[in-house]
């Protein structure tokens, strides 16, 4: 299934939404309108948005803490994200999750605060869909830093051993918290580690959304056809800091400037314009719509009530269980 123009426009729109929404939320964090700190991903939007392109809505996605790309990509609305960040009663979790975005009915699965704890869970989701013969694929997106977690190897092992419909996606944005990844990651590339477990891998330019889409499409089709897991490593770059308020300074200006030239949104737009199916007027109209949507979402979140404290003990345990 090749990437057609309409799909590319949709992916482009998602990337721009992510960029604008992250900027807006960052301002709200700084202004202390929302209680958490933020982790944003300016410059790496193509990965999260692109990998969701080939996914079915019932495919499982385990995402990352950075930015909104895969969450917008998999079908979360800006208002849903904002209400979670505000901790309002109108959020999907009724104020319980904050940054740990979750939307089960579009396949967005838990984001553990202890990054890497999802490796086993994604194995379980993939095992489950295999045992149920549901045809669902699980995508586990993680950063190059999280590849250091204990369950990474065993997850590759289990996925390979049981030939699970599981696609591991490493979003290598070159910074692990407050340092360049080579301070804490021994190898230039994460992907070859998959080879040790008999899992095929590809290393792909993560700032070209068409390449991201195509590579994911190949891996997902393979998985859906019962050919087992794959690992994709997308090379990209985090132009912002680790969190809002991080003083930064550890990323060389020239490095940031060089990656600005490879901005995935600019590249996508230039390509669409060059190919003649996107015009400046389209751009203007789209941005105005997105900004209006975001402002409406902010207003909705602002005006939403906080949860009733009496709900705090609800749903600690699932009631009933199997009564059949």
């Amino acid at each position: 299934m090749a990437l057609d123009n309409d799909t590319l426009k949709e992916l482009y729109r998602n990337m721009v939404t992510v960029r604008l929404l992250e900027k807006r939320v960052e301002r709200l964090v700084t202004a202390a309108r929302i209680p958490c700190s933020g982790h944003f991903g300016t410059g790496q939007e193509a990965v999260g948005v692109g990998i969701c392109g080939p996914l079915r809505s019932d495919d499982y996605l385990f995402g990352t803490h950075r930015g909104f790309a895969e969450y917008i990509g998999k079908g979360m609305a800006p208002a849903e994200i904002l209400c979670e960040y505000y901790g309002k009663a109108t959020s999907l979790s009724r104020g319980r999750l904050g940054q740990h975005l979750l939307k089960v009915d579009v396949g967005i699965m838990p984001l553990p605060s202890s990054l890497g704890s999802e490796f086993g869970m994604s194995v379980g989701a993939a095992l489950s869909s295999k045992l149920r013969r549901s045809g669902q694929v699980t995508v586990n997106l993680f950063g190059e830093g999280t590849a250091g977690q204990a369950d990474f190897g065993p997850a590759l092992e289990m996925a390979s051993l049981w030939q699970l419909p599981l696609v591991f996606v490493c979003n290598n944005n070159q910074y692990v918290e407050l340092a360049h990844y080579r301070n804490v990651v021994a190898t230039e590339d994460i992907a070859p580690r998959a080879g040790g477990y008999g899992v095929p891998y590809e290393i792909v330019d993560g700032n070209d959304i068409t390449l991201v889409y195509d590579a994911t499409e190949r891996a997902v089709s393979r998985a859906r056809n019962g050919e087992g897991p794959m690992l994709l490593e997308f090379k990209t770059y985090r132009r912002g800091t680790h969190y809002t308020g991080d003083p930064g300074g550890y990323q060389p200006r020239e490095e940031i400037a060089a990656w600005e030239k490879k901005d995935p949104i600019d590249r996508c737009r230039d390509r669409m314009m060059a190919e003649g199916f996107w015009a400046e007027t389209d751009e203007q109209a789209m941005r105005e719509t997105i900004e209006a949507e975001i402002e409406a979402a902010v207003q909705f979140a602002e005006e939403s009530p906080y949860p009733d404290p009496a709900t705090v003990t609800e749903n600690i345990y699932a009631q009933g269980g199997d009564k059949s």
């Binding site: 700084t30 209680p35 958490c36 700190s37 308020g245």
Partner: protein, 395 residues
């Protein structure tokens, strides 16, 4: 439109920041994203950039000062901005509501209640006592460290229920129980009581004639004070009476530690004046007075009531003529003194009026026979007739 520059929040834990430097001054023209000031938080120093374009109209927080997250630091406005809009922004001094924790509920602490006497009681026993209207403060506990347990309360309930009609059941107080134990213990000893009528006229006169340095008090010494000194001296003449019986041995003491029976509200206590034989009348009077005061306020320690070698009980103030004092094992002797009464007596063939009193020694017959008691009472008589010897310090 006027725009406020507020204290930013960087990271999850920042609550306030300090202005390190203003990079712009009032009146400067501002472009969006211009660095305006540098703020220091717990973790970082960082620039705050302009959220809007215009003129920096007012700086509210000076360099070096600290402001809470969300507090207004400065106001940017267009050159023709209405002064009222700027003032309205400046009036926002508190952080926005999202950052505010709900108000804590506080109330003044209640005044401290007076501390009740500490009685150990198990929670279940207390609950039961309160349910049944039993005054558990007066119960004695049979549990570890004297803890009152349910069985103690059950016993008290039983006692209360078995009280015959028309009678009121008063539980024995701890003091009465102690007295009960001691008297029961006392009657285990085979006792004899030997008495001698003694002329105390001289000593009573002596009592009122004392002057400094022998006596410094406002009032004359009490008769008991004189008795303590006299007994301490007389015991030297009969050392076997200044003794304690332990199993198969008699412990004879070098010094006389004299117990004195003192009546208190619901019983008696017997504090001990140690080495009374070495003390002056003044010292004995001072000590006895202190012990008496504290006995009546319940302030005696158990150590102060232990270790006596002989006990004096003066029942004269109660109007008693003649009685057998209680022996306090392991002591082997106690002196009971009755009231002094004027009587006609024959002295050297003439009938004269003298103040007479019965001195009666109770003794443990296992240790003491009549002879030393006779000697002791004779010595007491001698001292009573020649009270000046009471001024001597050592025996």
């Amino acid at each position: 439109m006027a725009t406020a520059i507020t204290m930013p929040r960087w990271g999850m834990i920042m609550e306030e920041g300090r202005i390190v430097e203003w990079l712009k001054k009032e009146g400067d023209e501002i472009v969006v994203d211009d660095p305006i000031l540098i703020v220091e938080s717990e973790k970082v120093d960082n620039e705050v950039t302009a959220p809007a374009a215009g003129i920096l109209k007012a700086i509210v927080v000076a360099e070096g000062e600290t402001a809470a997250v969300g507090a207004v630091l400065a106001v940017i406005a267009s050159p023709d901005e209405d002064a009222a809009a700027v003032a309205a922004l400046l009036a926002q001094s508190s952080p926005p509501p999202a950052a505010e924790p709900p108000p804590a509920v506080t109330s003044a602490p209640p005044p401290p209640a007076p501390k009740p006497r500490r009685v150990n009681i198990s929670p279940a026993a207390r609950r039961m006592a309160e349910d049944k209207g039993i005054d558990w403060q007066s119960l004695e506990g049979s549990g570890p460290r004297g803890r009152i347990e349910r069985k103690d309360v059950l016993r008290a309930i039983e006692t209360a229920q078995s009280t015959p009609p028309g009678a009121k059941s008063i539980p024995l107080s701890p003091m009465r129980k102690a007295i009960a134990r001691r008297t029961l213990q006392s009657i285990q000893a085979p006792q004899a009581a030997l008495c001698r009528e003694t002329d105390i006229s001289q000593v009573l006169r002596f009592r009122h004639s004392l002057t400094a340095p022998d006596w410094t008090g406002d009032k004359p010494p009490t008769f008991t004070t004189l008795l303590v000194k006299a007994v301490a001296m007389a015991l030297a003449a009969a050392p076997i009476l200044n003794a304690r019986l332990h199993d198969d041995a008699i412990w004879l003491d070098d010094n006389a530690h004299i117990g004195v029976v003192i009546a208190v509200e619901d019983g008696i206590v017997v504090p001990v004046i140690r080495e009374a034989n070495k003390k002056t009348l003044i010292e004995i009077a001072t000590e006895l007075n202190d012990l008496t005061q504290r006995a009546r306020s319940g302030g005696l320690t158990s150590a102060e009531m232990e270790g006596g070698t002989f006990t004096i009980s003066n029942a004269g103030p109660l109007g008693i003529d003649f009685f057998q004092a209680l022996l306090y094992p392991p002591q082997v002797g106690a002196l009971g003194v009755g009231r002094g009464r004027q009587r006609p007596v024959v002295v050297d063939g003439e009938i004269v009026i003298r103040t007479m009193s019965y001195f009666c020694v109770s003794s443990d017959h296992r240790v003491v026979d009549a002879e030393p008691i006779g000697r002791f009472l004779g010595k007491m008589d001698e001292i009573m007739q020649n009270p000046d010897v009471l001024l001597k310090r050592t025996v």
